[in-house]
């Protein structure tokens, strides 16, 4: 549906490198990456602020990269909203309908619908400067959606909001997407946001895309150390891999699904590591003994650090900690399956 084929763009010191993306119809697609990796530029290329130096952009098999922005049918919401400061809220929202010369009656229907949907009826007479961040955000989204764009482009839409508003608005975005089904490309540097909203995620590093996939796959199986670090992975180790075993410290081997032979890195999700007082027989192939060196309470979970030759983190529920009576200095067993070990290639 929306396809970027080898898009490159140089802007000042910054380079976007041969971006390939394929966004499906009605998909909520997230581009995730640290600040300064060129995420906004991708959106601006899709919307037509710049022409790509190389590559092509297609929408429904029709090439659009040479079209001016007004002929592309995209809705754009900037991080800082970019509302028209000289127009009232109502005129901001109506702007697109007027410039696209939508008939009065149709315009009225759409306007009533979108203002009700976003609950902004009480703001219509105000000017943008008098609105809070969350309110401006709603107006910017209403202004973009009222034109019924083929693609909605959201540039870090939640990052300028305070934490409470952000949580609420995240749900709101999800609901809007379910309601209207607009194909959405949303960029962010916040992985939890990506996980909560995205059908699929593309991770960017240094102007290029390094991994694309369903949100949960990127989270559970990051393909590189960079992605692992970015999605908040812990328990990252390097070692030599041979015969499905990776030696990560002298005398310490981890069984994993790993076909290659040679140096590699792995990550193990802390929630996949089971903690027990005694060792037990199970299908899990990895069982390490270690001493608890740290216990940090994180709401309903404890983050426990074990020293088993390397430092291993595990998440254990509050109840389990109480039942096993775990304390710092205790010796316990850590057990996990080979499939819990994510190998980077």
């Amino acid at each position: 549906m929306l396809q970027l084929k080898g898009i490159s763009k140089k802007l000042g010191d910054f380079r976007l490198k041969s971006i390939i993306l394929d966004v499906q119809e009605n998909e909520y697609f997230i581009i995730l990456g640290p600040t300064g990796t060129g995420k906004t530029v991708i959106l601006e290329l899709i919307a037509g602020m710049y022409k790509p130096d190389q590559g092509e952009i297609y929408y429904n098999k029709q090439r659009i990269d040479h079209l001016p922005p007004e002929q592309r049918k995209v809705g754009f919401v900037y991080q800082d909203y970019a509302l028209f400061p000289h127009l009232s809220v109502k005129d901001n929202i109506m702007y697109g309908l007027r410039s696209r010369k939508i008939a009065k009656r149709e315009a009225k229907t759409r306007f009533d619908e979108i203002t009700a949907n976003l609950k902004i009826g009480h703001l219509l007479g105000r000017v943008p400067a008098t609105l809070s961040g969350g309110e401006q955000q709603r107006i910017a989204i209403a202004r973009a959606l009222i034109t019924r764009p083929d693609i909605l482009l959201l540039d870090e839409p939640l990052s300028a909001l305070d934490p409470n508003t952000r949580g609420l608005f995240q749900q709101e975005l999800r609901r809007l997407h379910e309601d209207m089904g607009t194909t959405t490309v949303h960029i962010t540097h916040d992985f939890s946001e990506a996980l909560a909203l995205g059908d699929r995620i593309a991770v960017m590093q240094d102007g290029g895309i390094v991994q694309v996939g369903p949100a949960i796959d990127v989270f559970r199986q990051p393909k590189s150390l960079f992605v692992a670090g970015f999605v908040g992975a812990v328990n990252i180790f390097s070692g030599f891999c041979d015969n499905q075993k990776i030696s990560i410290a002298p005398g310490l081997e981890i069984a994993a699904v790993c076909k290659k032979k040679g140096e590699t890195s792995i990550s193990i999700r802390p929630e996949d590591i089971l903690i027990s007082r005694e060792t037990f027989i199970s299908s899990a192939r990895n069982s390490l003994e270690g001493e608890i060196t740290e216990m940090i309470c994180q709401g309903p979970l404890y983050r426990i650090t074990l020293d088993c030759g390397v430092l291993l983190q595990s998440l254990v529920s509050f109840q389990s900690v109480a039942e096993m009576d775990l304390k710092k200095g205790d010796r316990v067993w850590a057990t996990f399956k080979t499939t819990a070990v994510n190998v980077f290639y």
Binding site: A47, E70, D80, S99, T147
Partner: protein, 273 residues
Amino acid sequence: MVRTNHNRQNTVFSLLVIGFTIILAVFIFSAVGMVILRGLPGLSREILSPEIWSSIKLSLVTSLISTGCCVLYAVPVAYTLSHYSFRGKKMIGTLLSIPLALPPLVSGVALLLLFGTTSWGQALAAHGIKFVFTPLGIILAQFFVNVPYMVKISRTTFDSIDARLEFIARTLGSTRLQAFVSVTIPLSFHGFAAGALITWARALGEFGAVLMLVGATRGKTDILPISLYLNMSTGDLDMALTSATILIIISVVSLFVFEWLGENGASSNKNRI
């Protein structure tokens, strides 16, 4: 002991810089005040004299037309310089500012040569478009000297407006022109108004370029500054002071309005998202 010494040094320094400021303010105020003081008593009497009255009319008409031309011409030029990037843009920007750096007399000579001696200028004159020694020349001289100011002010105004606003307008279906008219122009209004005002005040006072191009002919090209010059050279101090007073009043009022527009523009920019 050392501390006291420092304190004294600091006080002396403060007094010194503040003293400079006060002296300059007093100097300017007394020079300008002197003209107004001497000119005001005669103002009500002389302002209705046919000579001054026709000068005022000629000044107003030529300066208003030249200001209008400056605005109409400078806005697209400033927009080009602010929004488009192309090779040699910096060069063109500098080139367009040349009249700012030139002594107005030289600008006048340049215009006189271009329109008085070239075949192109003569062709224009043959078709009735005469700039040399005519009121039309006054407008041209004022335009030439002032249009770079208007370009500069408009460009600063355009630069201060977030370019993404026009881009957003275009994603919402506007063409370049529609986005310009519906977004950029309204947001630039304060800047344009301030620019036009200062351009107009400068046009009213323009002397050197006008003198070179159209000469100083009583009853034909005697705008207020020329009239002032003619009256001074014939020793008619009262008439001269009247022109000077009118010019001062217009300048000072324009300056205050300009500052006010600037502040209001700035505060509305501050509210901008």
